[in-house]
């Protein structure tokens, strides 16, 4: 039977279709169950309306089926625990920052249930991922993907994206 570690090694090589980060660093993988030749992956969607989900599922199936000893790959999307930006790894945060995508500090409202539904888009100064200046403004809460907003830095005069704190 294939080892769980081997599955994780492959998953680690699968990038998110819309961001420079692997799906494991993004914190999408909640569970890997192996039973004989069947691999069952439990995946957390970032946002429920994310267009990339079918592409991610297809990529996982294709890559894992290439492993010898794996015949069937099932991908299941689950909502518990809820995905939050807290699940992004240190390596993932570094990779996103390098590409000008800011990631919220740990402390998602989703992780503590009593605070669900709070938004911090406008409530705190967001540091620019290019120059670290705090003189930034929210330009659009809705960005190119469901999980990001668009900001502008008044110091280095660059736009940047930031993952919504969820």
């Amino acid at each position: 039977m294939v080892a769980t570690a081997e599955i994780f090694d492959i998953l680690q090589t699968i990038p998110d279709p819309e961001m420079p980060i692997s799906i494991t660093d993004l914190g999408l993988i909640e569970g890997v169950e192996i039973s004989d030749t069947v691999v069952h992956i439990k995946l957390l969607p970032t946002f429920i309306g994310c267009f990339a989900l079918p592409a991610i599922a297809a990529e996982i199936k294709q890559k894992l089926c290439e492993i010898s000893g794996v015949e069937t790959v099932e991908v299941e999307f689950i909502h518990e625990p809820a995905w939050s930006t807290d699940r992004i790894s240190e390596a993932g945060r570094a990779s996103l920052a390098e590409h000008g995508i800011a990631v919220p500090e740990i402390g998602s409202p989703c992780t503590s249930h009593n605070e669900i539904g709070t938004v911090e888009l406008r409530t705190s100064a967001i540091p620019c991922p290019w120059c670290n200046s705090h003189k930034t403004t929210l330009k659009s809460p809705f960005g190119p993907t469901r999980c990001k907003s668009i900001y502008f830095c008044d110091d280095c005069r660059q736009p940047f994206e930031r993952m919504k704190k969820i």
């Binding site: 429920i48 309306g49 909502h79 409202p109 938004v119 809460p141 809705f142 469901r146």
Partner: protein, 256 residues
């Protein structure tokens, strides 16, 4: 509890349809603004909101699928008008008037947000989990529409007048969001949902709080009569439904 007793199947499906159908049609109507909203950010926002709402509707249809095995696409597109459970505010023609679009969005988003908060306390765990997840996304919708209410409500005399006119226009249909769906009492007495008191009162307090200081008035009254939540729909709904079903009806079994 993760397993639902069979006696609750019908009322819970009915209640889930109220939530899902609202989101499906609101998303459908909001997507009409793609490409023509007054400013670029608003265009991106309404397209994103539509994308969210339709995805949320789909997630609720999948939850219904887990109860009765019905295909989510079939649920969304294949019913006759009287089987839909949305309140008709979501399909009212907004005449491509931006104030109308914002007023409707304001009424509906606050309703959905408070409703989802309550559903996140459901004792049926799959529903509680999904509602918790969607509620976090819904908070971003509330934040967005609140910004527009502030922008127009504290803008010029003209923007205020237009927004007030729109709020009044949608007030009667907003009250129909609070129509009681059939079987909801059984969900309360059976302990599936927690009765958190009057949703209308909580909603009214929330919307009044947002417009406080702008001089805008919310004239929505508690619900009376029978409407969309019990399958009685108006002409705008029938028109929206025929539009929604047009493509699907050409080949109901196609894989999308």
């Amino acid at each position: 509890m993760s397993e639902l007793d069979q006696q609750f199947y019908e009322p819970i499906v009915n209640m889930l349809l109220c939530v899902a159908d609202d989101k499906l049609f609101l998303g459908h109507r909001n997507s009409d603004w793609t490409g023509i909203a007054p400013i670029l950010e608003a265009d991106i926002a309404f397209s994103s909101l539509a994308q969210d709402d339709i995805a949320h509707a789909n997630a609720f249809y999948e939850l219904i699928h887990s109860i009765n095995g019905q295909n989510p696409d079939q649920i969304a597109f294949s019913r006759t008008a009287e089987a839909y459970r949305c309140a008709d505010i979501v399909t009212m023609d907004d005449e491509f008037n931006w104030a109308n679009a914002i007023a409707r969005q304001f009424y509906c988003n606050v309703y959905e947000y408070l409703q989802l908060q309550r559903l996140s306390n459901a004792t049926w765990i799959p529903l509680a989990n999904l509602a918790t997840r969607i509620c976090a996304e819904q908070a971003i919708h509330i934040d967005h529409v609140t910004t527009w209410m502030d922008h127009l409500g504290n803008g010029t005399e003209d923007s205020k007048a237009r927004l007030q006119r729109a709020l009044n226009l949608y007030a009667p249909s907003a009250s129909m969001m609070f129509e009681t769906p059939e079987g909801i009492d059984l969900l309360f007495t059976g302990g599936i949902l927690i009765n958190d008191g009057c949703l209308f009162t909580a909603w009214k307090e929330y919307v009044d709080n947002i417009v406080e200081g702008t001089g805008l008035i919310i004239l929505v009254e508690p619900c009376e009569g029978v409407g969309g939540r019990n399958g009685k729909h108006d002409a705008d709904f029938v028109h929206a439904l025929s539009e929604l079903q047009e493509v699907f009806a050409t080949d109901p079994l196609a894989a999308w």
